[in-house]
Subunit: 244 residues, 6 copies
């Protein structure tokens, strides 16, 4: 019987903390921590308004080779590895798939995604497509995809190959158990070892930003209000006091 | 005067039958009938929620050659072949265009699409763009496109070349009179000779799928409910009885 | 201190006149005036329904070279040229950015775009991405982009290089001070010297088009109603009289 | 039995005349005759030093559809259309193939190309690949290709579809019977109707070019010698006299 | 200390047998054995005339992540995995590298390739580039590459990640220990389990092919000589007798 | 009359010193000096064996806009800016062209390149093509190109726009007066301010490399000989003594 590894999940507090950080803030801070680009380039939100944070289960596809992936796969569903990654689902998990950029392979369909949701899954990030999008978009999970297709996962040139191994998704390395932050700007991988530092850094936000945004929206001077210049500080303090 | 061929339209019952099949089901069954990928890759829905089934009128564009497509085309509209494909429109028809993937050529605009709708046309599948999208999206036909553009059809590098001939659209061959099934997952070509078999195959659906989906959404075991395992059959029969 | 040039803005009447012309009409008429394709290919509307007309401020990015764009840029915001193009903003302006097609660089974020809006800016056309899209889409300016990203502008391979110089955006040359017309079909550059001619040409519209569209939508003959044939003119005149 | 049309071949004198014109001169003059770009972009010379001029036999490939191109094709070679285009070969002919840019399909192999050479064929221009290149390069015909591959023509996603029909090769339309001029700069299509004009134009060459080239190679002033300026004419006449 | 697995090498007779088969024959026969395309698409010969057959050592690159591949790698060469794949070299081996198609990373340079040659290595197949090509081309090993570059392997966006694991090279799966056949047509992977069958199939060649080629080169009828028709058999037998 | 700026040329000694450094060494050392990738990606050598070092004259092309680049350009050659960059040629110069990657525009032809050679020019690096390659390859200058074409420079979609301004070539910024090092591995830009440091760094080469290469070619242990391990030093010293 097929056996695949599970991942180590991060402390709940870490996830909770990171859930207040946008993907844009995350990649920016990570770049200052030395990771040039944590952005998973390619997959974009197909569920506008949805944002998720959670650990990554990973699924790797490889170019199909008919001597290794034959007809028998269809007769025994348990040999289909794209099912196995979902078996590991715990509440809060996110599935990251290296689908090799294929626009012709629908990695998951309605039934798989329904099961994933039923198990508490939050979202999927795929360097490729799903199918059954008309129904999948309403299941309640977040979808970051390159597109949608009519085809099933192994119909043309791919086959599922490994579960919870390091994968390249959107030209970015994702290790099983890394944390994913995804919203309408896209998806970002947070290396698990850097997650605590990111949380710390991202929490040092500037209290005056709200004030600055207000002033800018009223036609205020960018040089004065962003970043907040010394001679605007008094005005900011005044405003802050009035906010109560 | 320019003359172009019409297509042979399939029996109404065939279209009616296929109209209950999704594009995802169609390409999956066709792959089991031997057609590796019936998916027209590239064009995606620009009219979300819309789904159509009907026979294909086809229009082929070629790279423009100024010695063959000169200024005179503008003075005599009847020489413009993209009009001729529309002359053949009968209620239920779908127009498939090989626009060579161009993002700079708006194959049809508001007036052409309004005429197409007036004649009973259902939708267009274009390996390229239309223009006048702000208005076209509300005409009531389905649009499967690669994008939209400001340019008219022959403005840059294309010219209409032939009507109701075999065309390559989205790297898939479409013969005039083949059947198109298109929805939010994309567009699929059903070879006319395989349509009856597809209809038969696709009708053998599993009655237990609704039940399985329900169980999965409640956190049920994928191995048990999809596909339905022997030891879940009693539970299913019970549920079915209760459905009345 | 960094100094960048401003642009010459066109007469208000010219902008007002052009604001009644769609991007599709503009590129079509410009092609008849000799400009093969005025379409800025690539950027598409990320604010559906929005349309803008105004003069172009321009911003040029170049491939980052670390010897020219170092860490010091971050310590002195005034050295960041993407701020400077916004300093020139006057009510009605549009910013056009050559972002070299990068999908990994968010040219502007929420604060910059808020400032731009505060100064009266109408829209941005970028051969690339912005970030903070979840908030940016509601600021009230029009956005024509290739996509969105989590990354900030200089995070990966670009650096801002020049303001209000000629730029290539979407494979189309835009001179500072040219006029941009953008709507859901895309963005078009109107060379400032051709703007008066375009206005004149585009104003010669056919009064019968509304009538023709009505007839086509009712299944009328394309050959008879578009363009309006001699033998349909009486019918049109009758219709027009009844319109009151 | 499969029947395909032959082409009309141009007068020998026309071919003979054009054989003194380079592909670069041809496309330049054709652009002045109104054809924007007669360059077949993509295929490049795989037989350096070889140059050919002759009429085009054409072969069109289409995306493979297994319901139309099945196993039976292999059992009856006569059904394979890529053989049929070669049956039409007359001495001096050139075969132009629309292989849809495929890098995975070897249109012809050693045996087919040997037969083509045996019949007097001069060269092939393919928007794709051949196979058996190690031997094919020495057969004695000119090869303009995108690359070479190990695969045979119908191994992956293509099937031969029509012979001596209009084809798009390298984003350029080639009509059967048009003339091809190909050398190390690439391949150019000469529309048959424009061939006499091209011949006339291209023959008006400047006698002073040889002189100018000599002077430039010696460090002469570009402004003075190219094009030849009035004040250099005496020097040229002197040089010419000395040439004898 | 870093440890990586070795591969199982095939019997010498198998390699010897396959060394008489061209890459074109191999992929053709493999397609008849069920492997759609064994062609490693992308890498092409940079050492014309060279052909090699041998078992595959594999090296996998991943997108660089600075938290996992830092400066320390440079101080301890033993941490650089691209060295480790070469440590396994035995006479007759071929190295296959998944370099993710990068045109900016020179996987090996002169010193590494010299060592590989010294150990008996035959060739490298890289879905990317090498550097030091001016010298590397003369070392005596076969090179199948996408191109050459000035950059070293980890200079931009890649890092070596694993040795002798399954890799995707040129959109084709290569398992460690599979056999590579490469020549001027390109490189092909022979799944080790299919190698004996391939050897058997490919050995059933047609003795009349040499005769047919001769006849075709003299203008003989393709229909008669390829494949050899019944009525040409006597002529062939005669020719064969005369060959002695 | 058109006026364009000249560049400041570096001291002869600097060029002389750098002429002993390969492009591979240069980009490697520059990366250690902080420039991530100095490689001009895309253009490759079309004159194998040729290597050049010299200061960069630059030429910028822009997308053609017919209102700015009309027919009159042909009547007055002095308005053609691609001539002007060549007017600045001094012995040892290299021309770098941003041709926007076009495969349809031949930036220079035989006459221009002959003039460039006559003036002492060493080579051209073009993010695009030249034409007249059959003759140009023998003029004696180095050519780093993306390809060759039949078309002239302004035939399709480009126009020359500026001379000796900063250009992006192969996704790398080149400032006029920077130094280019180009050989069979490709072309590298050396920022002029870093050139002395590069020279210093690159001169610290390891004397034992020749010895190591010899040992590796004889099957020596990579761990022992590259880099040279302590316990191999005695052997090296011995070898060196014997070299005399």
């Amino acid at each position: 019987m097929t056996h695949t590894s599970d991942i180590v999940r991060p402390p709940k507090e870490l996830i909770e903390g990171l859930s207040h950080i946008s993907s844009a803030t995350a990649t920016g801070e990570l770049s200052r921590l030395g990771v040039r680009s944590a952005h998973i380039t390619g997959p974009r939100s197909f569920t506008p308004g949805k944002s998720v944070v959670g650990p990554a289960l990973t699924l790797q596809f490889m170019p199909k080779r008919e001597d290794l992936y034959g007809e028998s796969e269809y007769t025994d569903p348990e040999k289909q590895l794209h099912r196995h990654v979902l078996y590991h689902t715990q509440p809060g998990d996110i599935v990251v798939v290296d689908a090799r950029g294929s626009m012709n392979s629908g990695i998951f369909g309605e039934m798989m995604l329904t099961y994933f949701k039923g198990r508490g899954g939050l979202g999927v990030v795929i360097d490729g497509c799903i199918r059954d999008y008309p129904k999948a978009k309403d299941i309640g999970i977040g979808l970051w995809l390159k597109g949608v297709t009519t085809n099933y996962h192994t119909q043309t040139s791919l086959m599922p190959f490994a579960v919870n191994v390091p994968v390249a998704c959107g030209d970015t390395l994702v290790m099983p158990g890394d944390i994913i932050i995804a919203d309408d700007d896209g998806a970002v991988v947070v290396p698990i070892a850097l997650a605590p530092q990111l949380l710390e850094k991202a929490s040092e936000h500037h209290e005056w930003e709200e004030f600055s945004k207000l002033k800018l929206s009223e036609g205020g001077d960018l040089r004065k209000y962003y970043p907040l210049r010394e001679d605007a500080r008094a005005e900011y303090e005044e405003w802050r006091k009035n906010q109560g």
